[in-house]
Amino acid sequence: MKQKTLFLGAAVLMLLVFAVATMSYRTETTQQSAQVVDRNRDRLVRMHSPALGNAQARVVIVEFLDPACETCRAFYPLVKDMMAANPEDIRLVLRYAPFHQGSEAVVAVLEAARKQGKFWPALDAVLASQAEWAPHHVAQVELVWPHLDGLGLDLEQLRADMSSPEIARIIEQDLADAQALNVRATPEFFVNGQPLPHFGYDPLKQLVDRALKDTDARQ
């Protein structure tokens, strides 16, 4: 009997220590990541970053996106819906975090499409067809081409632009900023400079709603 009590007591105690350590670790890292972002505020948005929506919008969502990332694809329409529900009030700024193998080339495709004024349609097409050009989580840029048909892109020009040093610099800068802002997974969102307390659609929605309300009160 005594042995069982000792065993159960030890088991409960260890689990309790684990739970408390987990909670305190999470709280601490959330505070730390907010501080990291605060210190690197100028790294959130760059002159070169593609942006959608009202330039004077009250709420700016910065999204670090990897075109080969499935969760990014899943979140993209959700963010668009949020913007549609609050026209004029939300601006989306995209940053690249091509963490998947081969994903940088796809970012280069997007940037080259941007030179032809077709960034957002190209992004829509690339995300919609993601499963076909990124089998087994490896992005294969040569599989992307058929999905760009019908966008009216000059593909020859696009291929030439892809290898421009300017595009390579943009990707390099975005990756450096992602590292400085502690972005380790995609998508990562910052709402008016604030990171999500933890990842998920609801935390994002709450942060956006609160930002909308806060700025409402100030006006």
Binding site: Q3, L6, F7, A10, M14, L15
Partner: protein, 151 residues
């Protein structure tokens, strides 16, 4: 720990073996939870060799209690192979970190290199070292269980 001296229902030879097995379980469980904390909470990357050590450590946390209730003096038979297997991997890992084993036979070059030191406490305690210590203690305790209960 004088835990079971008054537990008259159990024969003496069995009860003296209980405490070392219980202590071994404490170490295995603490190690399991610790590994889960590093991996799942702190999100530290788990290298290949660490996975092999987990494969040996996690089952110990579950199988040792099977030998505790009711106390089974044969617990050594099914727990020791896991402990020894884990110990071998842990020692290999530690030698790798210490640089005793040369670069070219390192088994994990992709992903996280096993030779990379992720955590260092008090200047000496690294995760692979903790693993060697844990497996060694479990082995010693299991041998102690065997010696005490086979008398």
């Amino acid at each position: 720990m004088p835990t079971t001296e008054d537990d008259l229902a159990t024969p003496r030879d069995a009860t003296t073996g209980w405490t070392p097995t219980f202590t071994a379980w404490l170490i295995a469980s603490a190690s399991t939870l610790g590994a889960l904390f590093f991996g799942e909470v702190m999100q530290l990357p788990t290298c290949t060799l660490c996975w092999y050590q987990r494969i040996f450590m996690f089952p110990l946390a579950l199988i040792l209690p099977v030998g505790l209730f009711p106390f089974d003096r044969k617990v050594v038979r099914y727990a020791l192979p896991l402990a020894v297997g884990g110990w071998l991997v842990a020692v290999f890992h530690q030698l790798l970190v210490a640089g005793v084993i040369p670069e070219d036979i390192r088994p994990c070059t992709q992903g996280v290199p096993c030779s990379q030191t992720v955590i260092e406490w008090f200047g000496v305690l690294t995760i692979p070292l903790l693993s060697v210590v844990a497996f060694s203690l479990i082995i010693v305790l299991l041998i102690l269980t065997h010696l005490r209960s086979s008398k």
